[in-house]
């Protein structure tokens, strides 16, 4: 398979207003490729593993940038860079879970241009798929990763359905934990989708990781005040501290009264295509204190249903330990 370094020749649209971007995206449909910071895009295109006729560069649309306070929380423009999310006073002061997650994505230079919208919309990490092989997710009829010889150390523990790739986003679990919602526009109007419903797994749609369809543009992310200033825990484990994608990450939020957990959100990333919310664990620890005993009691429950592949068995204890730390830290 040839390897390329130059970008393929494509048309380029650079609208400065959302309305124009929606019109172009609608007209081009599958022939257009939306670009925010482009940090996931350019690899696909340089490798010739995916293609489109035209890039629709959203980065000049100022109305899609920035963090605003709303009547019920905050709204973050989808084109806000990860560096801006990580350092925003509004986010840091009340929703530091998201800032912490955004602050460890990839590398400083990538965070300087990579956007929140792009981070949650990025495609799964699987080298077979990204090499352009005709796997299930690429429209073919086999999986190269889930084989005895397959390189699947980074792949999924849960919700595999033909495809076993894991989601790569660090901000996605944090947004699910914060009960965020995604604002999606197309020419027919706007729809607001809960973050947990925004991400889709292979059983429902094997070729997409989100509900976004041609013509749709993710314009902003809303975070309700419900979890503002809760007790947060974020941790990402990767082979390297920079650039690397999570092997497992955990985003958790706790509300306690007199030391007892009244409500919580525990969401684990990189163990399936979508962020995995551990509702049963949340229910099991309600009313308990954030102690080592409480954490130990839900250790097995946190990974119930895991199906390990040939080389990713280590993710089970890793995930259990991260959940335990989230609860007891």
């Amino acid at each position: 398979m040839p390897s390329h370094d130059v970008m393929p020749n494509m048309e380029l649209y650079q609208p400065v207003q959302v309305e124009d971007a929606l019109a172009i995206a609608d007209r081009l449909a599958e022939r257009g490729w939306l670009v925010g910071g482009g940090q996931d895009t350019y690899g696909w295109l340089k490798d010739r593993a995916k293609s489109a006729d035209a890039l629709i560069d959203l980065s000049a649309i100022e109305s899609l940038r920035g963090v605003r306070e709303t009547a019920d929380g905050i709204e973050i423009g989808a084109l806000t860079t990860l560096s801006e999310v990580a350092t925003s006073d509004l986010i840091r002061s009340s929703y530091s879970l998201l800032a912490d997650a955004a602050g460890v994505v990839a590398s400083p230079q990538i965070r300087n241009i990579g956007t929140l919208g792009g981070n949650v919309s990025q495609d799964v990490r699987c080298w077979y798929y990204r090499r352009g092989l005709s796997c299930y997710r690429a429209g073919g009829n086999l999986c190269y990763a889930d084989t005895p010889q397959g390189m699947n150390r980074e792949h999924a523990l849960f919700d595999q359905s033909r495809c076993v790739a894991a989601g790569a986003s660090d901000t996605a679990p944090a947004l699910v934990a914060l009960d965020a919602s995604m604002v999606v526009q197309n020419l027919n109007g706007e729809r607001v989708i809960a973050a947990r419903d925004f991400f889709v797994g292979p059983a429902n749609d094997i070729e997409n990781t989100t509900v976004l369809r041609p013509g749709d543009i993710l314009t902003s992310v809303r975070i309700p005040s419900a979890w503002a200033n809760a007790e947060f825990y974020w941790e990402k484990v990767a082979d390297r501290n920079v650039w690397d994608f999570s092997l497992v990450n955990v985003a958790a939020a706790f509300k306690t009264i007199d030391g007892q957990i009244e409500d919580s959100r525990i969401v684990v990333g990189a163990v399936q295509t979508t962020p995995r919310r551990l509702t049963e664990v949340e229910n099991a620890i309600r009313g308990s204190r954030r102690t080592a005993d409480t954490a130990e009691a839900v250790k097995e429950l946190s990974t119930t249903g895991a199906r390990t592949l040939a080389h990713n068995g280590f993710k089970v204890p890793l995930m259990q330990n991260l959940v335990k730390r989230a609860i007891s830290s």
Binding site: M7, N9, Q17, A23, K46, P108, I110
Partner: protein, 194 residues
């Protein structure tokens, strides 16, 4: 350049660049259209304080433009995938990977490459001099990118701690493993400029 990229395809490409499109519905408002709303193939780039007209393909990366159109070969292309940092430049003062930025994205911005940070009289930037004094580089291939990340860091944080330097340069690989020497250099430069 890709041998398949014939002159015909090249010309076809550039006339689409600039991003304005006309349809039956009218003219899209775009950030580089000319008076008629048609495509702009020749754009002005502000590189190292000089504005230069450049012929840029629609999907061309900034690293490609700098090296192969403007002959600014101090910006190195290592991986060309945003995974090494050798191509780091400043875009409006912010460190970016030039291999992973479209040139058309920076036409309204100020780009500074390694060639643009020394003084007009030729005096090296404090970071460059400090890297020499600390023997920071070994093979030197990653050095332009390390310098640019260090300049960006010191512009926003003139007195960083060692850990802050480590974090600030964490997006630049050095396969010689000279990281500690680079960090020493940045700290030396910090003492000299602060």
């Amino acid at each position: 350049m890709n041998s398949k990229l014939t002159r015909r395809r090249f010309i076809k490409g550039v006339i689409f660049s600039g991003a304005a499109a006309t349809t039956g519905a009218g003219v899209y408002l775009a950030n580089a259209q000319n008076g008629a709303g048609t495509a702009e193939r020749l754009i002005n780039l502000n590189i190292n304080g000089r504005t230069r007209p450049v012929d840029v393909m629609p999907s061309e990366t900034l690293a490609y433009t700098l090296r192969y159109k403007l002959d600014l070969t101090g910006t190195k292309i290592g991986c060309n995938r945003g995974e090494c940092g050798a191509c780091t430049v400043l875009v409006d003062g912010v460190a970016n990977y030039a291999c992973s930025v479209l040139t058309h994205n920076v036409k309204d911005k100020a780009v500074v490459s390694i060639e643009g940070i020394k003084s007009v009289d030729g005096t090296l930037h404090a970071v460059q001099q400090a890297f020499i004094d600390e023997n920071s580089p070994q093979c030197g291939f990653c050095t332009p990118g390390q310098v640019m990340s260090a300049v960006a860091l010191l512009n926003s944080n003139p007195r960083p701690t060692r850990e802050e330097v480590r974090a600030g340069l964490s997006g630049n690989l050095c396969r010689c493993g000279a990281y500690e020497h680079y960090i020493n250099g940045v700290l030396r430069a910090s003492r000299q400029i602060a």
